[in-house]
Amino acid sequence: MHPAFSVVFLTTLIGVGQGLFLALYTGQVYSVFKVLPVQDSANFYGIGSGIAVIFAASGLLASFFHLGHPERAWRSAARWRTSWLSREVIVLPAFMGVTALYGLVHYSGWNPVLFTLRGTVEVDLSLLIGAINTVIAFALFLSTAMIYACIKFLQEWASPLTVVNYTLLGSASGFTLATAFAAYQGSDLTQFYGAWAIILTVAGFITRLSSLIRNARIKHKSTIGTAIGIRHAKIVQKSQGFMTGSFNTREFFHGAPASVFTAVKWLFLITVFPVPIFLLSIGLAAQAAAVLVLAFVVQYLGLIAERWFFFAQSNHPQNLYYQTV
């Protein structure tokens, strides 16, 4: 497939937003159970949620550049019963809205205690909104990944690993950003977020590597023989019906030389996983917020390469019809 940068930015940016929100809420839940110290509502959760909304909104903005008719985008919520894309179109604004609400409740300080669990755990409004938004965040990971994983003949994508990778890589980048954010805020949660960022990055490395190994061994069901319905060991295309390209040759081939393709794979394998882990370790040990920001920037740029490779690696069966001019 030809990687569209609008979609590359959409999927990576909203992943950071979702991961950052999940990090903030994890911190809050831990503090409710008195495992971690309570953070300042307005400065920490309020501004943190604002950053998460900005990332998700930038992703949404990027997605509009993918559309031929962005002014009709509202129509795309119609077919949520059958289309994962439609589901994403509904869940993404919901995530942005509820994250903004979560941030607003914290920022304004209007956060009444709704009920008390077992007489000790006070459940306030933000905790309830956050719980709902956690479900929405995971639903968004699911719908984004299922857009790709549900197309069964794009065999590189049609795997549960796609959903796992989107979830883990989005969460990892969000937790890395949360680490840098907490460090700038001088929060006690820096070490907590940093540890989770490293754990999620390692987990993401394992699952992304699994999908790379799976895809390297993949056996495509469609062949030129099934494509034109003729059984012969040697079938060579002599003409694709036109000389100078069409939508079929532009949309479904990445067009990059094999050397670039391989280079991007190694680039993302290095910049998404070992380098951020190294920078996070240094930043956490030395209490250097700038190094933690660098860890996030490197990981995010690496994720752009990762997503480019994700699209470029999938082989569409229609390419069997377009092998020779």
């Binding site: 059958t82 894309l85 295309q237 019906g241």
Partner: protein
Amino acid sequence: MTQLALVIDLNVCVGCHACVTSCKEWNTSGTAGYMSDMNPYGKDPTGTFFNRVQTFEIGEFPNSETVHFPKSCLHCEDPPCVPVCPTGASYKRESDGIVLVDYDKCIGCKYCSWACPYGVREIDEHQKVMKKCTLCVDRIYDQALPERERKPACVLACPTNARLFGDVNDPASEAAVAIRERGGYQLMPEWGTKPANHYLPRRKTSITIHEDELVRVDNPLKKERQLPMPDKDAPTLDDVTSW
């Protein structure tokens, strides 16, 4: 349930591209708007087409043959492009099984083209909506046309009658009979899309002749006997036997 479709006979397709040009001509002049071309007279012309003829070589010389392969939307009975459409612009008609795009609802997200294994959907670079073969839906029901012309433009244009049009679910239709009796098959059956369009395979007409069928055992007139010819009055086999 009616399922209109094309049946394409690869045995007689000569790869003349008449179906391609007639399709473009008819559909670019239609009420749904033109099928745009980019740079049509320039260096790298490209444009929107619903139908293409491709050419494949099967085998290796001298045991090779050329197969011309027309490809357009197959109007699948279980079309994977329809459920993925977020707006409902892409739909399959209940009444006749034609898969269509509502150009006024399409947002141009291209997701349906990703979800089609056959690569028969194309985005129109000017109108920015997804387009595909409509089986000339504006023509096949047009009461103003004589009945014999109520067929897709490609079918009417084919000089070798390689394209048959009809309801593949009606056992008596020309298309269904051709599929049944001439080995009609579907493309990429492995994905369960159940394409309505079928292809008829290449066929070789051959007979087996044995040696003894070339030389007549009995030769009553002695026409093929070695020279010199025997006397006409000499007895023939019929004279000496009594059957």
